[in-house]
């Protein structure tokens, strides 16, 4: 009796898991497959595999629509902003976690509170500031905003990693005559590399997918990022569904690949934050 009940629970569990997995996989499957189908096939054969994998849609995007350029823009914005954000966050996190001075706790809190500040609400002023700095409508505007956006979470993550480095190591280096910045670069950085990676990867997703700021800050087509191109160029292809789905697939493939390769970092970085909360 108990065994049957247990078997039932098991069965129910598997059923729910399969349904949930399908609810995730089917929309993605539809997106990818549709991008290879002809328009007629989309209507006649919505679920099946495409008769012939036609790459027309992708050729179209890269050859005619300048998608390569949008990719480069997105990569440049993401890499630069994350690189700078993680670097300066590590510096700040080191200073406030390893030295006690009057405001170190306060400064740390000041940084961390940014995690719940909705920066979108400052958009009007950001727009005006970018105009004054003469970088409105350029990728630099995005880069600066994304650096600012990534700082709170990076400081938060790195603070913990740095604090876990035993103080004895820095003292030993100090006795050896190492300068304070030297301790950071020679002792701390090598030990917190996983932390640096985690901080960068956690901010990677929101950064790569960010749509609001390009929408208000970028006006010239040459400076479009992938999300902006996805949002703004939609009208252009609306009647060609395979192109529409190719646009969506292209926007998703890089993040999916990176996620599958580095998912452990995501999970560790994010759940560490959650548990401490």
């Amino acid at each position: 009796m108990k065994k049957i009940k247990k078997l039932g629970i098991r069965g129910g569990l598997y059923l729910i898991m399969v349904l949930y997995a399908l609810s995730i996989l089917v929309p993605l499957y539809v997106m990818f497959m549709t991008s290879f189908k002809s328009n007629a096939e989309i209507f006649n054969n919505p679920f099946g595999l495409p008769e012939a994998f036609s790459m027309d849609a992708y050729v179209n995007l890269f050859v005619i629509s300048n998608y390569g350029k949008y990719f480069m823009n997105s990569i440049m914005v993401t890499v630069l902003s994350l690189g700078v954000a993680v670097t300066i966050s590590a510096l700040a996190a080191y200073a406030v976690s390893k030295y006690s001075f009057r405001y170190n706790k306060a400064i740390y809190l000041y940084f961390v509170i940014g995690m719940i500040v909705p920066i979108k609400l400052g958009t009007i002023d950001i727009m005006i500031t970018m105009l004054r700095l003469r970088i409105y409508d350029s990728l630099w505007a995005l880069i600066i905003v994304y650096i600012a956006m990534a700082i709170p979470l990076s400081v938060f993550v790195l603070y913990d990693y740095i604090r876990m480095v035993p103080d004895e190591l820095s003292s030993a280096a100090r006795i050896d005559g190492c300068s304070e910045p030297g301790i950071f670069s020679r002792v701390i950085v090598p030990l917190i590399k996983p932390g640096l990676a985690a901080a960068g990867i956690i901010s990677f997703i929101p950064n790569w997918n960010e749509f609001w700021f390009p929408l208000v800050l970028i006006k010239t087509k040459e400076n479009y990022t992938i999300p902006l191109a996805t949002g703004q160029l939609f009208g252009q292809f609306d009647t060609k569904l395979n192109l529409v789905f190719a646009v969506l697939s292209l926007a998703s493939v890089p993040v999916i690949i990176i996620y599958l390769l580095l998912s452990n970092y995501f999970v560790k970085g994010l759940s560490a934050g959650a548990v401490k909360g």
Partner: protein
């Protein structure tokens, strides 16, 4: 170890320099390899027209080899917000499409458009009704009237032939056609109501004008002699409501592009649309099977109130880096040469440029043929009544959508618009 750390720290910076220099190089290359070549950016809400506009602009570059035009449209629903932001910020395209009356005037008010009086000499020869759509009250022109469009009904010849139907002239005939088609099991209209701008711009302004009294009533409304709750406007609304039974199933979820797909692939007998859609239907399945008729009048012998809408003017950015070249291009856009090119490449776009032209597209000819015996008008609440929020534009779009969702009666829909327009009567 220190080297490694330095490498990590500097990685970001060097990446920045490399990328930054890279992008600057690209920019520099673009401007230097072309010598004196100047690139002008032209923006519009016509994302469908990229290939065609490139062909037209190639003609200009042929005559002016040092000027290249890049056509960069933004999709219709986002266009106005994007244009306003970029012009107000002093960046943005050199040349741009402007909506007529209130929409374009607001852009002018930001002080970012070149005033054209005296700069383009042929401008004074344009029809005054068209020029007025892009000028201030004191006669300052800020755009070349470039595109007029008409609204009417497309139909599938083969489906009509199957039932022995001919294009209707009166509303009663129109309703008979609808009923015959529906009884025959056809999808009568491709119309959906998800994108509500269609309902106002094309359905109500196009088909309703014959019932609310066309241009005369529009003027009276603007002059505050009548209100939107007056019988004419309500009647027009009621007539539009009569179309509802002939919309496809779940029409509330069908958006503009889907409508085009339904009609373009021959899956509906009729489509209430604008002349700009000729090109789309041509691309989707050819025009051999597509016919057109003007909005049916109330009773035989009535004069057609034809919505020949002032759709697009072309303005010039005051902050353009190439004012001379941009002005040269503007002059070309105001020339008969461009007018003929545009009407050839973009059938259904009618030019206001004075001159005599040939229309080589039979549908466009058909559309134009109705103009002679009609009173032209523009979209109902386009002028003055959309200058402030909530604009007549927003209100009527919502009201008609609500009417088709059975949330408002035609009279309530009109009252909703009139109530929202209270700022106009202050």
């Amino acid at each position: 170890m220190k080297k490694l750390v330095l490498a990590v720290l500097l990685c970001a910076l060097t990446a920045g320099l490399v990328f930054g220099a890279g992008s600057q190089e690209i920019n520099a290359a673009a401007s230097s390899d072309s010598g004196d070549k100047v690139k002008l950016v032209f923006t519009s809400w016509r994302t469908e027209d990229i290939d065609l506009m490139n062909r037209i602009n190639a003609e200009f570059t042929k005559a002016n080899p040092n000027i290249e035009i890049e056509f960069q449209p933004v999709k219709n629903t986002e266009y106005d917000a994007q244009l306003k932001q970029s012009l107000a910020a002093g960046v943005g395209a050199d040349i741009m499409f402007l909506r007529s009356y209130d929409g374009g005037y607001q852009i002018y008010e930001t002080g970012s458009l070149t005033e054209l009086n005296g700069k383009i000499s042929t401008l004074k020869d344009f029809p005054s009704a068209a020029s007025a759509a892009w000028s201030t009250a004191d006669g300052t022109s800020y755009a070349i009237p470039a595109v007029g469009v008409v609204h009417g009904v497309y139909y599938r010849k083969s489906i009509f032939a199957k039932y022995g139907l001919t294009p209707p002239e009166t509303w009663a005939e129109f309703m008979t056609v609808c009923k015959t088609l529906k009884d025959g099991g056809e999808t009568v209209f491709a119309q959906g109501t998800k994108d509500n701008w269609m309902l106002y711009e094309v359905v109500y302004s196009g088909l309703g004008a014959n019932f609310y009294g066309g241009e005369e009533a529009r003027q009276a409304l603007m002059n505050k002699e009548i209100r939107f709750t007056d019988p004419g406007f309500v009647k027009a609304m009621e007539k539009m409501k009569e179309l509802q039974p002939y919309f496809p199933t779940r029409y509330e979820g069908i958006d503009y592009v889907t409508m085009q797909q339904i009609f373009g692939t021959g899956n509906a007998a009729m489509f209430i649309g604008g002349s700009w859609e000729i090109g789309i239907f041509e691309e989707m399945g050819g025009l051999d099977d597509v016919g057109y008729f003007a909005p049916p009048v109330e009773k035989a012998g009535d004069t057609l109130q034809y919505c020949f809408h002032v759709d697009a003017g072309v303005g010039m950015n005051k902050n353009t880096k190439h004012p001379e070249e941009a002005m040269m291009y503007m002059k070309w856009l105001a020339s008969p040469e461009y007018a003929q090119l545009m009407m050839d490449e973009l059938p259904g776009f009618f030019s206001y440029t004075p001159g005599s032209y040939s229309l080589n597209n039979s549908l466009a000819k058909e559309m134009e043929s109705y103009v002679a015996g009609s009173v032209p008008t523009v979209r109902t609440l386009w002028e003055k009544l959309s200058a402030e929020a909530p604009s007549g534009y927003d209100l009527i779009c919502q009201a008609i959508q609500q009417m088709y969702a059975d949330k408002m009666t035609p009279a309530e829909a009109c009252a909703y618009v009139d109530n929202g327009l209270s700022w106009y009567y202050k």
